[in-house]
């Protein structure tokens, strides 16, 4: 029951969505419209899951005075503050926008930007052309990097054209081949999920 019911619901919902695409059956078509709307509504409710999880994990850190429980306190307090301001005022209020635009966006952007430095370090220490394939990968990367910046154009007028040719022909061929094989895998997995042969997405245990 605990796995059979969700599996049956999944198959039922998926069947409606699939039939809706290929057949004009008013009852099914309307049901499919409702289901997609309901999923959007459910997803809105699900947005609180992350916050609940953070609350549970970090309040435990605070209670047990684990390492960096001070950061956990800041996290919970700030999260609740942002939620209260956003709900009581609006996400367009000056306070909310100040926090978001001047704290969240800079931290988020900078966090991702640090990856560039790690790429630079990896370029020097780890990217080795130990065999033909690795050499091909590195050479292609170099040509694409040069072709996509003005310096490459300055070095050789054919550089941008050559880089674009690599992207248009060889990259497209590779990505297309991978995409087609992935699509076959996706179709098989989807059929397995819809027919109930795959259960892993429901988690293990009761």
């Amino acid at each position: 029951m605990r796995k059979a019911l969700p599996t049956a619901i999944l198959s039922f919902v998926a069947t409606i969505i699939l039939v809706d695409y290929w057949f004009k059956v008013p009852v099914i078509n309307n049901a499919a419209k409702d289901i997609t709307t309901w999923v959007s509504l459910i997803a809105n409710v699900a947005l609180g899951l992350g916050a609940v999880n953070l609350l549970l994990v970090h309040s435990r850190h605070i209670r047990l005075k684990r390492q960096e429980w001070g950061n956990s306190t800041v996290l919970i307090a700030l999260m609740l503050f942002v939620a209260v301001v956003g709900i009581a005022q609006s996400s367009n209020s000056p306070t909310y926008r100040w926090i978001y635009d001047n704290i969240n966006v800079p931290i988020g952007s900078t966090l991702f930007a640090t990856a560039a430095f790690q790429i630079a370090s990896a370029s020097y220490r780890t990217f080795r052309a130990r065999n033909v394939e690795a050499a091909l990968l590195l050479l292609t990367g170099i040509f694409v990097m040069l072709g996509k910046v003005p310096l490459g154009e300055m070095m050789a007028s054919w550089m941008p054209t050559f880089a674009q040719w690599i992207l248009d022909v060889w990259n497209t061929a590779a990505q297309r081949g991978i995409m087609m094989c992935t699509a076959i895998g996706l179709i098989i997995i989807s059929v397995r999920v819809i027919t109930g042969m795959e259960r892993g997405h429901f988690g293990s245990g009761e």
Binding site: Y21, K33, I35, T36, T37, V39, S40, L41, I42, A43, N44, A46, L47, S90, S91, N92, R97, Y100, D101, N104, V105, I107, G108, S109, L111, F112, A113, A116, F117, I119, A120, S121, S123, Y124, R125, T126, F127, R128, A129, L138, G141, I142, M145, L146, K148, V149, P150, L151, G152, E153, M154, P160, Q164, L167, D168, N171, T172, Q175, R176, M179
Partner: protein
């Protein structure tokens, strides 16, 4: 330890400092390196020029996370400048939560050209990924009754004539990937495959090679990739911005990365050869 071995073991912070300098110096002392506009960006620009007219409804999805803002912000600004020139009506949505706030930031410079409520609306966050998008395209009022500020949308002039996907002229998504929102695949599936509508994409350079097959197979009408794409589009709309000013720094930084790769491999080969010879080289 040989010289090569010492160079291979250099502290990574030295590399970080060199990279930081390679970006900072060209920003502070611009070189003004010229660059050309590629065919992809030109075709994407021309498509909008030829097919989009005044008061056409454009669905613009700000699928931009905070981490992608430095790359996708300039693309969005350039494209919005083009759309503002064309005086279209923009229905703004975001399939990721961050996108709602990015939309506010990126719309601000165009508030005069595209008055809110008349030529632009920010409907807010569309939850549910592809399911939500599917519902929205069948009837936007299924998933939105108010804009991102809570104002009712039914009476807004910009929403007049927007009943479903048939009223949309083009779907534009400036997209940072599938995490938390709709991926390019999902836009293609819903926009092009299901509803036969043109889908026009701005994307970050990381995703560009992987999404190329969609463009090459004609499933995308627009394809602006990375900061270089932003710079080229800025040139076409005549509005030099962050994309253009980034090109010099991008050039020097790329050159540095290539030098690192070459030096690292030269060092590896030298060490290998010396070990094969059975001695250390100075």
């Amino acid at each position: 330890m040989s010289t090569y071995e010492k160079l291979q073991a250099i502290d990574k912070r030295v590399i970080y400092i060199l990279l930081a300098l390679s970006i900072a110096v060209p920003l502070l002392f611009p070189l003004g390196l010229p660059f050309s506009v590629g065919a992809e960006v030109k075709n994407s620009y021309d498509w909008i020029e030829k097919n989009i007219n005044k008061d056409d409804l454009v669905l613009f999805s700000y699928d931009i996370s905070t981490g992608a803002m430095p790359e996708l912000g300039p693309i969005t600004t350039a494209v919005m400048a083009h759309l503002a020139k064309k005086q279209v009506k923009i229905i703004g949505i975001a399939t990721m939560t961050d996108g709602v706030m990015m939309a506010r930031q990126l719309y601000a410079p165009f508030a005069k050209d595209l008055p809110y409520g008349e030529k632009f609306v920010n409907l807010g966050f569309l939850a549910g990924g592809e399911s939500g998008l599917s519902s929205f395209l069948q009837n936007p009022y299924n998933v939105f009754k108010a804009d991102a500020d809570g104002k009712p949308i039914e009476s807004m002039p910009v929403m007049k004539g927007f009943k479903d996907v048939k009223d949309i002229k083009v779907m534009i998504s400036v997209n940072c990937g599938p995490v938390g929102g709709c991926s390019i695949e999902q836009w293609v599936r819903q926009g092009f495959v299901t509803h036969k509508k043109p889908v026009w994409i701005g994307l970050n350079a990381v995703m560009a090679p992987g999404s190329m097959p969609y463009y090459r197979s004609g499933q995308l009408t627009g394809y602006i990739a990375g900061i270089r794409g932003a710079a080229e589009y800025e040139t076409l709309v005549g509005r030099a911005g962050l994309g253009t000013s980034a090109m010099d720094a991008q050039s020097i930084a790329h050159a540095l990365i290539i030098i690192f790769i070459v030096l690292g491999n030269v060092g590896m080969m030298a060490i290998k050869r010396s070990k094969a010879k059975g001695g250390a080289i100075k």
